[in-house]
Amino acid sequence: MFKTARSKFQTWITAGAGTIAALLVAGLMGAFGALPAHAPPQLPPDAAIDAGRWRVQPARAYVSRAKLYGVALKPGQKALVLEADLTNRTAQSDKAYFNVFKPDGIDLPDSTPMIALARDSTLTPELHPGMTERMAYVWPLAGNAAVPANLSFGVTAEIFKPRDNLYGTPGWFNSYRLGTVTMPVADLPESGS
C-alpha cells in the first residue's frame, strides 16, 4: 500500500502521536503524585467552619463511660463524644453529616458514629436549612483505649455541582478533607449519669 519508506514513517508518527501524548501525561501525573502531599490545614477550634453543606462549630470533646444522649454503651466500653453546632447551608432538609468529623489516630471499633440531637436525644434527625442545632457525635471505644488529651478531628467537606455528570441534577459530590481541628478532650468520671 505504501510507496516509500518516508510515507511509512509519517504514518507511524501520525498513528503513534496519541500514544506518545498519553505516555507523557501519565508520566507527568505520576511524578506529581509522588510529590509529598500538602498537609490539610489546621482549622480554628473556636470559629464556625464552612464545610460544604454544613457550617460547623465544635463545642467540646470528652470521654464518657455512662449512657448519654440515649446512646447505650456495651459493658466495658467508653465513648468519645464530640459536641458541635451544625447548620444546614443547603436549600433543603438533610442528614448527610455522618462523615463530617472523624477522630485521627484512634482505633475505632466502628468508624460510623452515633449522632444525636442534643436537644432531645433524637438519633440522626434531618437538620433544616439555616437552623443551627447542637449535635453530639458518639464513637464507642474499647474500655482501655488511650485517648490523648488533645485530639485532632479531620473535617470532611463536599463540593456543590449545579449539574452532575450523570443526570445533570444539582448535588454535593467529591468529598475532600477540608482540614483538621484540634480539641482538648476532657475525661468525665464514672458518675456521669
Binding site: A91, Q92, S93, D120, H128, P129, M131, E133, Y167
Partner: protein, 209 residues
C-alpha cells in the same frame, strides 16, 4: 456569488443563535422528572392523582407537648413548630400519603420533622376512598419562612411525575415582622380532637396472627 455567501453566513449565524438558545433554555433533568404540582389554597380540597387533601388548620407553637409510651415529652426548637392539620381521602384505591414539605418564600424546603415519628397521626397516613381521615404534618421552621410559603404534600418523597398538592399559605395571618399572628407558647398534640383509631395494616410486615 457575493449574495450567496452572505446568505450562507446568515444561515450559519442563525443556526448558532438558535442552538445556543436551545442549550440555554434546556430544562434540567431534575425539572423534567419533578413532581407535577397541583395548586390550591387553605380550606380548599386539592385533588392530586391518588389522594385528595384539604388543609384545615395551621398552628404555630414554640414548644410541642406529646406522649411517648405513656411519658410526657416537651419538644423544643430553635425556630417555630408549624403543625398542619389536614383532611385526607384516597381517590380510587386505598393508599398512603407520606411526604410533607414546607416550601419557604425563597424556595427553601423544610421536610416534615422526624422527631415525632412514633406518633399515630404522623405520616405515612393510610387513606381509603371516600373515608375522611385527619392527618398531621409537623415542621420545624425559622420564623422568617412563614410569610409567602406553601405546603407541599405528596404520596411519597421521591415521586417523579406524580402529583404533588401545593397549598398556598397566604391565608395564614402574619404580623409586620413576618411572624405568624398567633404563636402558642405550648401546643399539646393530644389535646385536640383525638385521631381516629385507624391505621393501615401493613401488608409486607407481620401483623397479628
Amino acid at each position: 456569488m457575493r449574495i450567496r455567501a452572505i446568505g450562507n453566513l446568515l444561515i450559519v449565524a442563525a443556526t448558532v443563535v438558535l442552538s445556543y438558545g436551545m442549550q440555554v433554555s434546556k430544562p434540567h433533568y431534575a425539572e423534567l422528572t419533578a413532581p407535577i404540582p397541583i395548586d390550591g389554597a387553605m380550606h380548599d380540597t386539592v385533588r392530586a392523582r391518588s389522594f385528595d387533601v384539604r388543609l384545615d388548620r395551621m398552628v404555630f407553637a414554640r414548644t410541642l407537648k406529646t406522649n411517648q409510651f405513656g411519658q410526657e415529652r416537651l419538644l423544643t426548637t430553635s425556630g417555630l413548630w408549624a403543625v398542619a392539620a389536614t383532611n385526607l381521602t384516597a381517590t380510587s384505591t386505598s393508599t398512603t400519603v407520606a411526604d410533607g414539605t414546607w416550601q419557604g418564600p425563597t424556595g427553601l424546603r423544610y421536610r416534615q420533622t422526624e422527631r415525632l415519628s412514633y406518633r399515630q397521626d404522623m405520616p405515612p397516613h393510610a387513606v381509603d376512598p371516600e373515608l375522611e381521615r385527619s392527618g398531621l404534618f409537623v415542621f420545624e421552621l425559622p420564623a422568617d419562612q412563614i410569610r409567602g410559603a406553601s405546603l407541599l404534600i405528596a404520596a411519597r418523597q421521591f415521586g417523579p411525575l406524580d402529583a404533588q398538592a401545593r397549598i398556598s399559605l397566604d391565608a395564614v395571618p402574619t404580623g409586620a415582622d413576618g411572624q405568624p399572628a398567633d404563636v402558642l407558647p405550648l401546643y399539646d398534640l393530644d389535646a385536640p380532637a383525638p385521631p381516629q383509631g385507624q391505621t393501615r395494616q401493613d401488608q409486607t410486615r407481620q401483623g397479628k396472627t
